[in-house]
């Protein structure tokens, strides 16, 4: 009788150990997933663009000045009334990759969904889970303050139609960046082209692989953006990989000068959080991009 009881006890201990092991593995995966979501939320600019008060992450209210007027970033915290607390994962995926809200309204392209369209579902959902792991911020959304006719949201359907014809980016065909981490980070997650790709008719990006910068659109805005192709004179071709990595971590250029205002914010709220090997992959890819 006694050996049977001992055997039963042993089985119980075995079961407990196995359950404990499974529990640890599952928790480790969650921790990893959240860490990935956190880093990507910074690298993709979600945190930087949707945070105006550092104590209210993702609470929105960040102002973006453009030649069309001011954009006020929305609250994307998990608050049910003012944020995205009622959104399903499918609605979040649609918003991020298609630029369409849950009530089927088009987003202004200040939100770079055209770049996010190529992000993997698991990366986007890691960001979703990270946002949902933080407290809800009950900050009310402020409307954009745009000039006529840009304030008519319905016109964006027309813009999207023209964008599809003019641009070389087709969002229904997902680019596969498997084994191309640098290209994935530059052309999708970190959406470098949203600023560094030249814009054409109706502010459309014609070529998403062109990172040769942008000329000033207005003297008042002072919005020229530098060429980051591998050209030695006009671009960053004379920079080494470690120069680019150091710049994306600290904002310090090889000549000892510093990043300009917008880029310094992107570094502060985004690229400095990327892992070292990801930064080297970005550098490697950027140094391959030719001047057009």
């Amino acid at each position: 009788m006694v050996p049977v009881i001992i055997n039963l006890e042993k089985r119980k201990i075995k079961k407990t150990i196995i359950l404990l092991f499974i529990f640890i593995i599952l928790n480790r995966n969650d921790a990893f997933s959240n860490e990935n979501g956190k880093i990507l939320s910074f690298a993709a600019g979600c945190h930087g663009c949707h945070t105006s008060n550092p104590n209210q992450p993702f609470g929105g209210g960040y102002k973006i000045k453009t030649k069309f007027g001011f954009f006020n970033s929305p609250n994307i915290s998990k608050d049910k009334l003012n944020g995205i607390g009622n959104w399903s994962k499918a609605e979040f995926l649609k918003a991020v990759t298609k630029g369409i809200s849950p009530d089927n309204k088009p987003y202004y392209p200040a939100f770079p969904y055209n770049w996010y369209a190529d992000m993997t579902e698991s990366d986007i959902l890691d960001i979703y889970e990270y946002i949902y792991s933080l407290p809800a911020i009950s900050k009310e959304e402020t409307n954009h303050n745009l000039r006529f006719p840009y304030n008519i949201r319905e016109l964006l359907w027309l813009w999207r139609f023209v964008d599809r014809i003019v641009s070389n980016k087709k969002n229904d065909i997902k680019n596969n960046y498997k084994n191309k981490r640098g290209e994935y980070l530059v052309n999708s997650i970190s959406h470098c082209g949203a600023c560094h790709s030249p814009r054409t008719f109706l502010y459309i990006v014609k070529d998403y692989n062109d990172l040769t910068g942008r000329k000033q659109t207005s003297k008042l805005l002072n919005d020229a953006v530098p060429n980051i192709s591998n050209d030695n004179i006009n671009g960053i071709g004379s920079w080494s990989k470690s120069d680019i990595v150091f710049f994306l971590q600290t904002g310090i250029k090889p000549n000892g000068d510093f990043a300009e205002k917008d880029m310094s914010l992107i570094i502060e709220n985004g690229t400095q959080y990327l892992r070292n090997n990801d930064l080297y992959k970005i550098a490697g890819y950027l140094l391959k991009i030719k001047d057009k």
């Binding site: 000033q216 002072n222 470690s242 971590q249 600290t250 310090i252 090889p254 310094s264």
Partner: protein, 154 residues
């Protein structure tokens, strides 16, 4: 005849004054650009060691001290005199608010000096990660000053 001579002398002296004034303006602009370049060069030397491009780590401390010394000895009223703004010369990238918001500019400069002091402390301790952090923090104050008081580069 004497009257004509008097008027001519007056005109010439005023022209010479203007020329000297212009030369002085351009000189001081060039001078302060050189100070900024010198700071940039010291930063590049430290950064080259942090990036691993060279391993002359003993240079980090003297160049950190040089940044502190250069920044803390800038005499704002002499290096940025009233007549050296964008309204007086096209050669400067300085913005007019250096003179209209003097206190703000002076505080921004003091902030950079504080960060340079932290850089020297980190360089003395010798931990490269901390040096990189301190250099980044100094860079942030320099960048923030440039963003407020320097015309954006095209």
């Amino acid at each position: 005849m004497i009257k004509v001579f008097f008027v001519l002398t007056l005109l010439l002296s005023s022209f010479a004054d203007q020329l000297a004034y212009a030369e002085n303006t351009e000189d001081v602009i060039k001078y302060r650009k050189n100070i900024m370049k010198a700071i940039g060069s010291h930063i590049s030397v430290i950064a080259a060691n942090l990036k691993g491009k060279v391993s002359i780590n003993e240079d980090i401390l003297p160049h950190s001290k040089s940044i502190l010394l250069t920044l803390s000895s800038i005499n704002i009223s002499k290096t940025f005199p009233e007549n050296s703004g964008p309204n007086h010369s096209s050669k400067t990238k300085s913005l007019e608010n250096i003179w209209s918001e003097k206190e703000l500019f002076s505080n921004a400069m003091k902030d950079s000096v504080k960060k340079a002091e932290s850089l020297v402390i980190a360089a003395e301790a010798g931990d490269k990660q901390n040096i990189a952090k301190s250099l980044g923090a100094l860079g942030k104050t320099c960048g923030s000053c440039h963003n407020k008081f320097r015309k954006k580069k095209n």
